[in-house]
Homo-oligomer: 333 residues x 4
Amino acid sequence: MDRLRIGIIGLGWFGEIHAETIAGVANLELAALCTRTPERLAEMGEKFGVKKLYRDYHDMLADPNIDAVSICTMWDQHREPAIAALKAGKHVFLEKPIASTVEDGLAITEASKSAKGILYIGHIVRFNPRYRMAKQAIDEGRIGKIVALSSRRNIPAAWTPTILDKIGPIVGDAIHDTDIMLWFTGQRIVSAYAQTVDVRGLKHPDIGQTMYRFADGASATLETVWCMPEKTPFDIDERMSIIGTEGIIHVQDTFPNLGIVDGDRLHSPDTTYWPMFEGVRGGALRDEFTYFATCALDGKEVTIGTPEDATAALEATLAAEESARTGNVVRIG
Amino acid sequence: MDRLRIGIIGLGWFGEIHAETIAGVANLELAALCTRTPERLAEMGEKFGVKKLYRDYHDMLADPNIDAVSICTMWDQHREPAIAALKAGKHVFLEKPIASTVEDGLAITEASKSAKGILYIGHIVRFNPRYRMAKQAIDEGRIGKIVALSSRRNIPAAWTPTILDKIGPIVGDAIHDTDIMLWFTGQRIVSAYAQTVDVRGLKHPDIGQTMYRFADGASATLETVWCMPEKTPFDIDERMSIIGTEGIIHVQDTFPNLGIVDGDRLHSPDTTYWPMFEGVRGGALRDEFTYFATCALDGKEVTIGTPEDATAALEATLAAEESARTGNVVRIG
Amino acid sequence: MDRLRIGIIGLGWFGEIHAETIAGVANLELAALCTRTPERLAEMGEKFGVKKLYRDYHDMLADPNIDAVSICTMWDQHREPAIAALKAGKHVFLEKPIASTVEDGLAITEASKSAKGILYIGHIVRFNPRYRMAKQAIDEGRIGKIVALSSRRNIPAAWTPTILDKIGPIVGDAIHDTDIMLWFTGQRIVSAYAQTVDVRGLKHPDIGQTMYRFADGASATLETVWCMPEKTPFDIDERMSIIGTEGIIHVQDTFPNLGIVDGDRLHSPDTTYWPMFEGVRGGALRDEFTYFATCALDGKEVTIGTPEDATAALEATLAAEESARTGNVVRIG
Amino acid sequence: MDRLRIGIIGLGWFGEIHAETIAGVANLELAALCTRTPERLAEMGEKFGVKKLYRDYHDMLADPNIDAVSICTMWDQHREPAIAALKAGKHVFLEKPIASTVEDGLAITEASKSAKGILYIGHIVRFNPRYRMAKQAIDEGRIGKIVALSSRRNIPAAWTPTILDKIGPIVGDAIHDTDIMLWFTGQRIVSAYAQTVDVRGLKHPDIGQTMYRFADGASATLETVWCMPEKTPFDIDERMSIIGTEGIIHVQDTFPNLGIVDGDRLHSPDTTYWPMFEGVRGGALRDEFTYFATCALDGKEVTIGTPEDATAALEATLAAEESARTGNVVRIG
């Protein structure tokens, strides 16, 4: 088998982006789609030229000609399809966060232990080449021991009203930086303190500021603003600094990298995560799918995006949200 | 009187920088110096061509031909000389922090109420033109209501071992950003949470990460790393972002502003605060002294660097330090 | 005499900026104004509280209570007032370019030789602290011998239609970078090649790209775009790189230095040259006037902004404009 | 056929990078290697686990189980292997510049017309996502008509002594920006003027500064410095600005994108072109090979990296080099 036949479960905006990305991955074939809404299913089937269309994911999992699934359902609806897919012997690409509770995360992890297929959790930032190269530098000892970190991952207000009905910025976005910080330090997080600000009165607050303490004493702050004003140039204002005893690493994925001034304003579009060229998406998302497909096809162990790492990141961000709700520092583990 | 005759009390490294700056201020005349160490006093007297040299500041204050003093003693030795100078009718330029305790800050403030001279507290960042222009934009309503802020003020490890015996990075440096945030928001700070990291085992920890809550719900994080590694290009890695409901302001005083690659490495020297050209210092410190001299000579009220503002910034940073020591959130006021 | 009583000749937009700046210079007193238009003269007199108002500069020069003049007339109307002012014994601050022809520049220079007052040509960029610090680094030998330079000095289209009726971007703006490059290299320019682009059909082309060869073989490119589109964030997109055999210097006076996103777009206003705070202008223009006043009052020789340097910069930029007109490389000297 | 079996002709440093990249392309199989030096051939064969090793490329071309070749010989040794490979029916990935003379470029182009296989010229910058997105914005009319461009592509001195024995910075590197500018404007270049600086006395000068005029009047400057000093943070200091009548685009592939301060200095390594992670290279080079393989396997026409475009870029850069040698403006076409 040279190409993995993959189906997508959940066709919201990110499920569609998965499809647009899979089209550019040589060892993947987009073979099936699943969503509950018939109109959306028909529309997406036509757009991607996919014949196998399902309204119930169990039917997709029952198809022996589907090798793998990507799961893009809502984050609190991950447990059932993920475990069912693993039990059906499929390879599973599960979007982050792994789940909405640590308990669900552990159950999914457990299910993956005895599964025939691989399980990969979509922590896409690990495929941003800046962070990968940073990780290499850290592993080579070039910055010594990490003592402090700070991150920002801010997005425009226009993008978030719908998302903020489902998930807040700490679990929704700071989880990326939490995962990266755990990866970089190799430490556990032992406490979380966070403050949120509710700007627009939506279900979740628009802004989260989080502080972690790591087991070895390192300290971190994480900023996630989901209400950058209309005229911000940044699709993502994303930065991280890693302070070591012997060095520092700075990452920044914004202007001046790329800036387009047009009749409207300066735009600094993302070119890293899922840029689209000629109808197909590339960037880190394609690299992630390539990694997933290659692990599955070649029988290689998944070492990036493991459910254990994903659950640890989930646990820390949930603790931060609890801290923001209660006003107290939350100890972990 | 066209020029204010000024004396400096305290001739550590920053007292010397005061002297190098006063030399370039047209309406100031450096007329006297005071420090306890005779050798240092003689050396500085010769360097600046100053004849009136004192080992006891009371003697300087007794001189009727001295109009003003700048006080650069240790931060916990501010109360006595400041109050004595005010009582002696001198104009007083007092370095920040106003004092080492809120009680001292209030006593100095109180003494200034009945004084003949003016009292200015050296919160130099208010004379950084980026922050001044940001303040103008905020006051014009261009970014709406401020909902979140974040700042960084990091300096090289090589500069701090001596300072860290006297003061830590939160009260020592985050107080700048605290003052600016209070100025920008026009709000009180109601709670502080902070974490410190002790990297080198000096008297104070090297790193502080602080989080504030403002009375109207705005939230802020402040980073102060006093151990940037040897090869960092930055004299100061200084940044602030102010998130408003209608706009955002970004300030950054580092490379690419100015970068000098020489045989050693990339350097990004400060050109904003007290750059020295041909033996005289300019920048924000000169603007600060010009403001001080102009207020004193023209009888204008001091509205920047008031003791009330300085005491509020002190109170918040001391609360942050208490939080870092105890691990608890500290409520203020 | 503690303060120099100064008059301004020419009250266009930049004459007004001179006035707004002089107000913040302690050793200058704005004592007189001169322009041909009575309404403008009255309006400016009222705005700045100046009593001595002249429509003919000869009358101002005849006043023994005027010590100095700043000349802001059109660049091709510099020769007469400058020489007259020097002959009248006044100190002269003459805006750049020194003149519109090399012949005029030489005549002004000649007149300054026998004058009682000093002559300073307003090459303001020499008071930008980034370039001053760069010059120090170069003089200290930190980047070795300069082998190549490149610069950009671009401004918004909205600012230039009126200016483009009077002067083009090479003589108008690249002259700044030409002067700086001559200062940094200590070399003569031996040839110029330039291309212009006429975008809006105004009297002068909107864009100039210039290339110089220096006597020692160093090479330089200079970009001046006077038609940055409406939504550009930059007041000035100003950059210079200096390549040496042992090092490199980069200067950039734009975002991320300061960025203000408001309801309109991202703005990156200039805070270096003449930022206005509370009605008074500071920055490099104030430093320039302070330098001028201090040289005049203290009898110090003018070493920055000499007419010789200003004429050399004029000669090179005029050669570049000739090259752009003829399509040929123009040899100098 | 699902995977293209590819051989590499020429195993210098870049041939090896090709091999390290092909290893990560799902629809390519590295099947053969060819170089004249037996030791190098054996070493590379072992490193990449390739069994088919040739010292004469004709032998590789005779193998019916080789579908494609990448040609990494010296730029003046492109014509013969490229034409031979096309005649042998192979798909050809030919490194840029297409050749060392326009005549050779035309001959290779001609050979590709009747060939069974596709011909792709490795203009890698077209796969940098910043430029691709810029091209999209230009094609959408977002910046209006392009009136001026400027670029920089500078690399460290330490990398270039060997290369400078073979090729200079204008044809060697400015050809990238030349190709991109031709792509962006859709215009011909009608004249070139260039200046070079010889810093180290190697076979070719270290620095090139080039100016182009486009057929529609647009003007461009291109900087290529191949002697950035030892301590420069940049692997590549790469920037381009595109000035349109309605907008501007800025591209910059350097710090602050990624900066690593270690015990040595600040490093800003390239993460765009061929970053290596776990022994395999990704980035634009992988995207280029993926594009090549996909065109070849799916029978799609090559529209990026055509020999016509590559020859036009070669012609312009050769004209610039002639200008630098003669001191005259060189007209093209």
